[in-house]
């Protein structure tokens, strides 16, 4: 058995540095703050989506799945940190307790888009359907940020390489 620790510090660091920017999506008892994805190159077949999920209701819930028109398969992933080795793994779900927040941030959890049908271009929007155990499906729009963005300081996150063309839908 490998002794594993989760990247708690990375998560905390990210959370602490996250400014109150980005858009919010409110549905029922959930607020999804700053849903964002990393831009991908045309040669990349996988992408990641991050967000904070606030549960204002009085029922514990769980994010159990997601779907995207841009990806063949979508999974929820986390990282196991084994010393300095990062092991990305699929997880069954992420708890969103009543009155609580689930954080999907670099180094921790993400929604993984696999089999991307087209690249995620910076400064465009992509759709994502989140499936909760109790609340069911919630549709959100995700902002595509720079490939090297961390969600904390994306405006100064990297050099400007020009933004890709807007995605037509």
């Amino acid at each position: 058995m490998i002794k594993t620790t989760i990247t708690a510090l990375a998560l905390l660091a990210t959370l602490a540095a996250t400014p109150a920017t980005g858009h919010e999506e409110k549905t029922g008892s959930f607020t999804i703050s700053h849903p964002w994805a990393r831009a991908t190159a045309s040669s990349q077949t996988a992408g990641a989506v991050f967000m904070e999920i606030h549960n204002h209701g009085d029922t514990d819930d769980r994010l159990v799945g997601a779907a995207s028109p841009d990806a063949e398969r979508v999974e929820i992933h986390g990282h196991l940190r084994d010393g300095d080795v990062m092991r990305m793994r699929r997880v069954d779900g992420i708890e969103v307790p009543a009155g609580g927040t689930a954080v999907l941030a670099p180094g921790g959890f993400h929604v993984m888009l696999m089999g991307l049908k087209s690249p995620l271009f910076e400064d465009t929007l992509t759709e994502l359907t989140l499936t909760f155990e109790k609340a069911g499906d919630i549709e959100i729009e995700v902002v595509v940020e720079a490939a090297g963005a961390t969600g904390a300081s994306s405006a100064t996150g990297k050099m400007d390489h020009g933004s890709g063309p807007m995605k037509s839908r």
Partner: protein, 205 residues
């Protein structure tokens, strides 16, 4: 720090500790030793290498001689850890201003099977205009990774159509003499990388 953030962190810690219990973790292979971390690096690790760059040309680390390189071992299918580190490297180099020109950002793939020069050539400009993507044969990559004490291992899940790579996540600073001047752990703030590089530059001049 406001109260809301406090609550968020507490919940997050709870979530993090609960995570291990239900995570569907298949990696029960024996743990291999992970690289030595820290700002001071033992002699004997690292050294020169020759690989193939993202243009398809052979590339020798000799071309950094007299200057610096920030080297990361990763793979393009990685949607989170690798882009994070490459993004942080780019910020660190920008942070150095004019001196940043003396630092070459480099990504060496640990997944040469998928990361051909063509794949890398699409990928590297997303992070930095000077980022050099390096690939090679399985043997070449294994040899370089071993010398840099980089752990990597393919992970296959029967449910996945694509495999993942487990890998150690370090950024290496290679100094003017071609040896490793510093190593940065995952999550090192770019400002810290930049100030370490600056210190090395100062010591050299």
């Amino acid at each position: 720090m406001n109260r809301k953030l406090h609550i968020g962190i507490v919940l997050l810690v709870v979530a993090v500790f609960g995570f291990g219990a239900w995570l569907n973790f298949h990696g029960d292979e024996p743990a291999e030793s992970t690289p030595v971390a820290g700002m001071v690096v033992n002699v004997g690790i690292g050294g020169p290498f020759e690989l193939t760059d993202h243009t398809g040309a052979r590339f020798s680390s000799e071309s950094f001689a007299g200057n610096y390189a920030l080297v990361y071992f990763g793979y393009t299918f990685c949607p989170d850890i690798c882009p994070t580190e490459l993004g942080q490297m780019a910020i660190a180099i920008d942070e150095l201003g004019d001196d940043g020109a003396r630092v070459s950002p480099v990504m060496i793939t640990i997944d040469p099977k998928r990361d051909t020069p063509e794949v890398l050539s699409e990928y590297v400009p997303l992070f930095h205009e000077r980022l050099i993507g390096l690939t090679g044969s399985e043997e070449e990559i294994r040899a370089v990774a071993t010398r840099y004490r980089v752990f990597y291992q393919r992970f296959d899940d029967p449910n996945y159509t694509e495999y993942l790579m487990d890998h150690s996540s370090f950024v290496y600073l290679i100094g003017p003499d071609g040896t490793i001047a510093a190593m940065f752990r995952y999550g090192t703030p770019p400002e810290e990388m930049a100030s370490t590089i600056r210190q090395h530059m100062k010591a050299q001049s």
